[in-house]
Symmetry: C2
Subunit: 458 residues, 2 copies
């Protein structure tokens, strides 16, 4: 795919240089809008408007939607009012709303000025829904049918009004704007008789979204039910829009990326890595690094307060990194698993006791195996093979026992914190590796020195 | 959703106890197959077959597909041959293949015995495609049209043959089994004249998958192009199947979960957390914990070899956890970002120099800010506020300088390793926090003691 686009980029640049516009157009119209947009990303800015103007109207609008915001802005600034109007007229409403949300105020004013009054009104209504709600990602362009229409009439209505709809395959049956059922084009086409009324074949138990449903929840419902589109209703069950599967896919991808970024100790970003500047990356990363660095003061304080113990048993220091890392790793395993399950809607707060119980049993298994392997490894490798005379069997025992207890604590903390965070209304993903590591570090050191005191008397 | 299912579970159990089968059936037929399957998960095993038999044939098959493998097996073992045949006949081919892949051998033999010979042949063919390939997730039930058919004839063909097809909305135009174009039902319905031949309105630049295309790549193409379905062709461009958007969504979700699990230092699992046993979790987690624990031997060796330095400057030990953690955190930030970008298809190996350059600049910014804040914090908090007399300005300088250099190294390693892993054919996700932490730990300690030797002369 990527190599293909390099060849294409070269060909297009060459043809542009030679002003072979007919050939250029011939190549472009064979391409998918999404691919044209990708190629535009790789071109010099001043070539984009020229190439864009070669596209036929519909393909131009479709390509425009797929472009990155900075290129969209570049194009709009170069458009005449009538060119802008042509594009805005071709856009689906949800895409127009996305565009308005991305553009600076003066560009937005121009876009709204060119939209026809109805579209302008709809855009303004959609803009009022909170970010990340089903209302904010829905479109109002769908096919409605009436219950008493026959199958034949329904098909005729789709043929007449379908051209501007985002999907025609799921049609919604409404009565006084109230959603009473849905019927698919498959149902209509496969109906035995064109004279049957729609209400006889429609599905009346419709699963719908509310305008305020979180977009993540909406995406989960798409993944669960495999719907092509879902109706969005307001609090009085009046149908106000639809969300289509492609929007749900985008949300799924975004939400997974967001979770992964937060789990990696970063603020989530809407920009892709390739588009993010160094400054963007810096802003996304530095707050967490600072917070976590400063909170490591506690581990420092713990070590300082046990300085005498460490001086008496110099071998103890060497195992601090291993104990901290294993604690951190085992804690992240639990937190990452639980965070993902929460994201997929599999776990709720009331599952906490069951989760803790499962994690504790897993921790006991992991802890025993790790402690035994660790004990043998220290004895054979560190003491005998590497000849570290400071390591006694008692030191080995302290390290291995600490390891077992740390694993237990780490898994308990790792599975609990994300669920508590969720309950308190925070993003559970915050409670992943970096945070868990900081907490587990302090715990493992306290356990380490506690056991060292008890067994070694330091 | 979940609370709703508790109420439903109670109602259904009550009605079952009272043997009110007509009411039970009336409730079930209003429900979505996916929801019925969820409710079944919560019921006692012996009640499932009874409830399942209340479902009408088609709903029964749809529900069956949504159920977890253990419940499917339970049902099949209770089915008579004719009951099993009814379900198998109703299944789409890709679902039948999934089922065969999940069931134990003796159950598979029964399923194949009940399938009609054509289905059996198709199942066996699909089973031959490698796991995770487009071939393995495709279905062979799609609508084909011939180029010379008119729009009217095409619609008639869909009405006649559509009932068993997984989707009718995208129809594929073939000539001697070779894929020559596609036409959507929307195109057909909105065509101005029923007499136009399909070849005049069909899209001829069809983006297709190969049977061997990786399913992750296939899912990415769905997310990019927003297709409802994509055709799958063999090496000779002969059409052999289609993949639909719902399969792509499942793959996206699975692949994101897999990446997150691997990044969290676990082997990926096909079972959801709620279904995984303690033993499953143990097996998924212990290999990585052991590997990482043993590899921490190196950090231990480094510390041991600098024991004298640590004894001379006791204050140095207290900052080891902070340096290691910050290094680990900053390295994971880079690795996680790069891993996700690779998964989304945004980065390739040839982008490595660009990525490293971006990360180094980000690292310089982060490193300077962290080092300055760290220097001031140690001076004000650790030395003045907590009164640690062992901390000199020189010690503070050693720690802060180490921090800056560690951040730089960690980001360079964090962004490079996933890309190198990908190039070498490994899963880049392996190069996330746990691994990066282990490597960065060793590096930061070496830098720490190196600088300490130079500046403090220990």
């Amino acid at each position: 795919m990527a190599d293909h686009s390099i060849i294409l980029e070269k060909t297009l640049t060459k043809l542009l240089g030679e002003k072979k516009y007919t050939s250029l157009r011939d190549i472009l119209i064979t391409m998918n809008p999404s691919d044209i947009a990708s190629v535009f990303e790789t071109l010099d800015e001043d070539r984009i408007p020229l190439l864009f103007r070669l596209l036929p109207k519909e393909l131009a609008a479709e390509t425009f939607v797929e472009m990155e915001p900075d290129n969209q802005e570049l194009l709009i600034r170069g458009f005449s009012d009538s060119e802008l109007k042509e594009i805005v007229d071709e856009l689906y409403l949800d895409d127009a709303v996305d565009l308005v949300e991305e553009m600076p105020a003066n560009v937005v004013r121009r876009i709204l000025a060119q939209a026809d009054p109805d579209t302008r009104k709809s855009i303004n209504e959609l803009l009022r829904y909170p970010e990340n709600s089903a209302g904010s990602i829905m479109t109002t362009e769908y096919v409605t049918l009436r219950p008493a229409m026959t199958v034949g009439e329904a098909i005729l209505r789709i043929r007449r009004t379908g051209v501007d709809k985002e999907t025609i395959y799921t049609c919604y049956v409404t009565n006084n704007r109230s959603l009473v059922g849905l019927v698919t084009v498959k149902d209509l086409l496969l109906a035995e008789d064109d004279e049957i009324p729609v209400q006889n074949i429609m599905e009346t138990h419709v699963i719908s979204l509310n305008t305020m449903t979180d977009q993540e929840e909406a995406a989960r419902m798409f993944a669960k039910y495999n719907f092509l589109a879902m109706p969005v209703v307001d609090t009085e069950n009046r149908m106000v829009g639809i969300v289509t599967f492609d929007d749900a896919m985008d949300v799924m991808e975004e939400e997974a990326t967001e979770d992964i970024e937060i789990m990696g100790g970063m603020s989530p970003s809407e920009k892709s890595y390739t588009r993010a500047t160094v400054w963007d990356l810096f802003k996304q990363r530095i707050p967490w690094l600072l917070l976590l660095m400063v909170s490591a003061t506690f581990t420092g304080m713990i070590i300082t307060s046990f300085e005498n113990a460490l001086a008496a048993q110099v071998a103890l220091t060497a195992f601090i990194p291993m104990l901290m890392d294993t604690g951190g790793n085992t804690g992240s395993q639990s937190s990452v698993t639980v965070i993902r399950s929460i994201s997929l809607g599999e776990l709720e707060f009331r599952d906490l006791p069951r989760v803790v119980w499962k994690e504790i049993r897993t921790a006991v298994l992991c802890g025993i195996v790790l402690a035994v392997v660790c004990f043998v490894k220290i004895l054979l490798v560190d003491k005998l093979l590497l000849g570290n005379a400071n390591i006694t069997v008692w030191v080995d025992l302290v390290v291995s026992a600490t390891l077992a207890i740390t694993v237990l604590l780490a898994k308990a903390v790792g599975c609990t914190l994300p669920m508590v965070a969720k309950k308190l209304g925070f993003d559970p993903a915050v409670m992943a590796s970096p945070f868990i590591t900081t907490i587990v570090d302090a715990m493992s050191l306290l356990v380490y020195f506690g056991i060292a005191k008890a067994l070694l008397g330091v």
